[in-house]
């Protein structure tokens, strides 16, 4: 009897069918991977299984019994717990308080809370699964890796029989990922089930027993992992032979230095030192990649260069000209483009139209003194929509009604216009489907070919290897040059180790 069974699940959203008659089973004691590119419907399916969404059609069976979940609590009561990609934790609460939140079993039914008993329980649980956390620590004090531990502990505390993990390694170093996989194997050895959602073939091969491939909302295959080759999985994911953009590397670049950082130091939002003496130079036509796990200063690096943050020491030069710190407009004027990691929160103003977003930085150039030239702005927007093939009802559509890929196209359309000298792209393809990824990669390569110097900050090593001329690794605010092709050395550097000489 399978632990979990989904039959004929269909879910529709305005404009898209996210899941189309999906059949899926997961057995007790197995790690079952749900593989698919971004937008294939993996997250939707997991949200349905964990009770956050209700399917439009189809049924769910847990241990053979049909169930209907009206809320996440029902799923949790049925033994299905989700570990989210963006942690659903209350920052101000302690670890213990987060764990007991919403608990309906046993002690949970009691009206009063006994803080001492909970703390002990949590501590014992942490020790048992080798996920040590201080039950009395507040979430905002914890690191990203520790927060993920708390999320997993939460599922175990709720005595989940089925754990769903959504892209868990996105925030981990290769080493931490390995430890996570060991923990998962221990968990399933107890007879539980783990559903592992990912778009990374390598991980799926490493940790899962079986894999189900989703494409465009449909199941295309379910097979034993051991029997499937990476190539076959990849082509199942995409539906055709994968043809990623690969750059021709023409040796060391000869162009002028378009972006230079000299001994740059900067603070994070929490007033800790985030960048420690960063030196980097990017030449015209070069793509320099910065690898590293999130949280090591990448955001501060991008923001300092783009002028959203002032360095506490050091200088940033674009095109040879020194930039005043913390002045985004000056950076733009000097010819710097910035494709931010947070598309919706920073890259576009979500409720404003595409037209306004395309002109987000150039409206000053288009203006007549303090007055705007609305007709000119509109023409610019229409041209951008055409050139970048942005799928939208019109230039007045609000930015957040677009798909992720199209939003990124709006950002690109804006950043690539004008006299661009250097470009910073931070995780530009996160959350995008393969064709959108291809588009972005193509535009980055074209820009480099045109003479733009590109600084690519990414956590995706595959992306880095496909595009970069040079690779640097970021760890705890410092940049180290790494050999371009050496995945293992890069992995060591990402974890803060020193590669064997």
């Amino acid at each position: 009897m399978p632990a979990v069974e989904l039959r004929g699940i269909t879910k529709r959203f305005p404009g898209v069918v996210a899941n189309d008659a999906v059949d899926f089973t997961a057995e007790a004691g197995e790690v079952h991977a749900l593989l698919g590119e971004n937008g294939a419907g993996k997250s939707t399916l997991s949200h349905i299984l964990s009770g956050l969404y209700r399917p439009d059609e189809g049924e769910i069976r847990v241990h053979g019994v049909p169930v209907a979940f009206h809320s996440p609590r029902d799923a949790i009561d049925a033994g299905i717990c989700m570990v989210h990609q963006h942690f659903r934790l209350v920052d101000r609460f302690t670890v213990a308080q987060n764990l007991i939140l919403g608990d309906r079993r046993g002690a949970g039914r009691r009206f009063r809370i006994d803080p001492g008993a909970v703390t002990d329980q949590v501590r014992r649980l942490g020790e048992r699964y080798r996920l040590p956390v201080d039950p009395r620590a507040r979430i905002w004090q914890l690191s990203v890796g520790e927060r993920q531990r708390v999320e997993i502990l939460k599922a175990l505390y709720e005595e989940a029989k089925v754990l769903i993990l959504d892209e868990p390694t996105a925030v981990l170093t290769p080493d931490e990922s390995r430890t996570l996989f060991e923990t998962l194997r221990e968990i399933v050895a107890e007879g539980r089930t783990v559903i592992f959602i990912s778009h990374k073939l390598r991980e799926v091969k490493a940790v899962s027993d079986r894999v189900t491939v989703l494409r465009a909302g449909r199941v295309v295959a379910t097979t034993n992992t051991a029997d499937a080759s990476p190539q076959s999985l990849a082509s199942l994911m995409v539906g055709r032979t994968l043809e990623t953009v690969q750059r021709r590397h023409t040796g060391t670049a000869e162009g002028d230095v378009v972006l230079a950082l000299e001994d740059v130091w900067a603070h994070s939002d929490r007033a800790t030192t985030s960048l420690k003496g960063v030196d980097v130079s990017v030449r015209a036509g070069e793509i320099v990649a910065v690898a590293g796990v999130a949280g090591n200063g990448q955001r501060e690096l991008a923001e300092t260069i783009a002028g959203l943050r002032g360095p506490t020491r050091g200088t940033v030069r674009v095109g040879g000209r020194r930039l005043p710190g913390g002045d985004a407009r000056a950076a733009y004027r000097a010819g710097l483009g910035y494709v931010p990691e947070d598309r919706l929160g920073t890259g576009v103003a979500p409720n404003l139209s595409i037209a306004m977003n395309v002109d987000l930085k150039s409206y000053r150039d288009d203006s007549w003194g303090p007055f705007l030239r609305l007709a000119r702005m509109r023409r610019r927007a229409e041209e951008a929509i055409r050139t970048y093939d942005i799928k939208a009802p019109g230039p007045d559509a609000e930015a957040d009604t677009l798909s992720g890929g199209n939003i990124q196209k709006v950002v690109l359309a804006r950043e690539f216009a004008g006299r661009l000298k250097a470009l910073i792209a931070a995780s530009p393809t996160r959350g995008l489907d393969v064709s959108a990824v291809e588009t972005v990669h193509r535009h980055l390569c074209d820009a480099a070919d045109r003479g733009v110097g590109v600084l690519l900050i990414s956590e995706d090593l595959d992306e880095i290897f496909a595009l970069a001329d040079r690779v640097l690794v970021m760890y705890e605010g410092r940049l180290t040059e790494a050999p371009r092709d050496d995945r293992e050395t890069i992995g060591v550097l990402m974890a803060g180790g020193h590669p064997a000489t």
Binding site: P14, A21, P350, L352, P370, T401
Partner: protein
């Protein structure tokens, strides 16, 4: 049956006008029911209101008097709320404008110079007074991130106490100290004749006075519209109002914008205050039962919300609400339900708020997913 609320992908223009008008009609119906249930005749009550507001002799005159301050505070609120800066302090900023404006009038007036100069000085002074008071929450918000909602609210009280103090509790510059009445009841010093603002009379309904304040309000609306829709300033305001992150990213000077918008908003409210001195009261009114009872500042927020922050719509709504308030005052008495004005205004605003949802979202009614055993799953 399940109700799902979905975001609209496109917003048809007609909806943006239909919804406010629809909510107005809805509100009138609901208020009518309230009247009916409490033993009043809705039709005749509405007719009385309409008559007292717009038709009867002297009605339009009084309506304009009631509407002018609402136009100013409505524009002040709209200017700030547009950028999601919730300036609740128009009330206090109005008082401050009245105080500083009256001071200018008392100081520059009666010296034999041209009246236009005195009035111009009053206008500037009123704006400065409101601007200064509005800048306090502005500075706190811009530099310390403190919520302007509560700071501006608190300052309303402080401003009210200052106003009362100047007339009731001290022998200040603004206080009338000579004359018989002065000993009996504290009043403000009357403005000299050249500090009194002109008005122009239309020959209709027995003469409708168009006070200078009303014309200034129209001018402010035009300026605000141009500023927000046709100038770089307005573009940046829109971006900042939508997303802090995107605004910083685009290089918008966030702090300067916050300061500027709060200053503008305060200045407009202050102008409303000095208009009270110059157009209508002809002295500084520190009576807690006078200017302070009118709640122009708070009603202005209602005006702005109903007008969906459009400056010209603010003028129209101010006129309508002014008419409502005027009628409410005029009809006060034994058989007219007091408090009706507030009830109607409240219901109008409630339905406008509810209707707002419809502009951006669509409500879909669907049947629940059918029971598992009913259909054979597709292969």
């Amino acid at each position: 049956m399940r109700f799902t609320i979905e975001r609209r992908l496109e917003q048809p223009r007609w909806l943006a006008v239909a919804v406010p008008i629809g909510s107005l009609l809805f509100a009138l119906v609901v208020a009518g029911v309230v009247l009916l249930v409490t033993g009043h005749d809705p039709i005749s009550t509405y007719r009385q209101l309409f008559d007292a507001a717009f038709i009867s002799s002297g009605a339009l005159d009084q309506t304009l008097i009631a509407a002018t301050p609402l136009a100013f505070t409505g524009l002040a609120a709209a200017a700030a709320f547009r950028m999601r800066l919730f300036n609740i302090g128009a009330e206090g900023q109005l008082y401050m404008g009245a105080i500083v404006g009256a001071a200018a009038g008392l100081y520059f007036g009666g010296r034999g110079g041209p009246s236009a100069f005195v009035i111009a000085a009053m206008v500037v002074a009123g704006c400065l007074g409101g601007m200064a008071w509005g800048s306090i929450p502005g500075v706190l918000r811009a530099f310390l991130g403190t919520s302007e909602i509560l700071t501006s609210l608190m300052l309303n009280y402080v401003a009210a106490y200052i106003l009362t103090y100047l007339i009731f509790q001290s022998e200040s510059y603004w206080r009338q100290t000579t004359g018989f009445n002065a000993k009996v009841f504290p009043t403000g010093k009357p403005l000299p004749p050249d500090a009194i603002w002109p008005s122009w009379t239309l020959n209709a309904q027995g003469g409708i006075g168009i006070p200078l304040g009303a014309l200034l309000a129209v001018l402010v609306a035009v300026v605000l519209w141009v500023l927000y829709r046709r100038m770089r300033f307005g573009f940046e305001v829109q971006v900042l109002g939508d997303s802090d992150g995107a605004a910083r990213y685009a290089g918008v000077r966030t702090r300067r914008k916050i300061l500027a918008v709060m200053a503008i908003s305060g200045a407009i409210a202050g102008l409303g205050g000095v208009s009270q001195d110059g157009d209508f009261r002809h002295a500084l009114d520190g009576d807690p039962n006078g200017l302070q009872k009118q709640a122009y500042g708070y009603t202005g927020i209602v005006v702005a919300a109903l007008a969906r922050y459009n400056p010209f719509a603010c003028l129209v709504v101010a006129f309508l609400l002014g008419g409502l308030n005027n009628a409410g005052n005029a009809l006060q008495g034994a058989d007219f339900p007091s408090g009706l004005v507030g009830v109607i205004e409240g219901i109008i605003l409630f339905s406008a708020l509810g209707g707002e949802l419809l502009v951006r979202h669509r409500v879909r009614i669907s049947r629940t997913a059918h029971a598992p055993a009913a259909t054979e799953p597709a292969q």
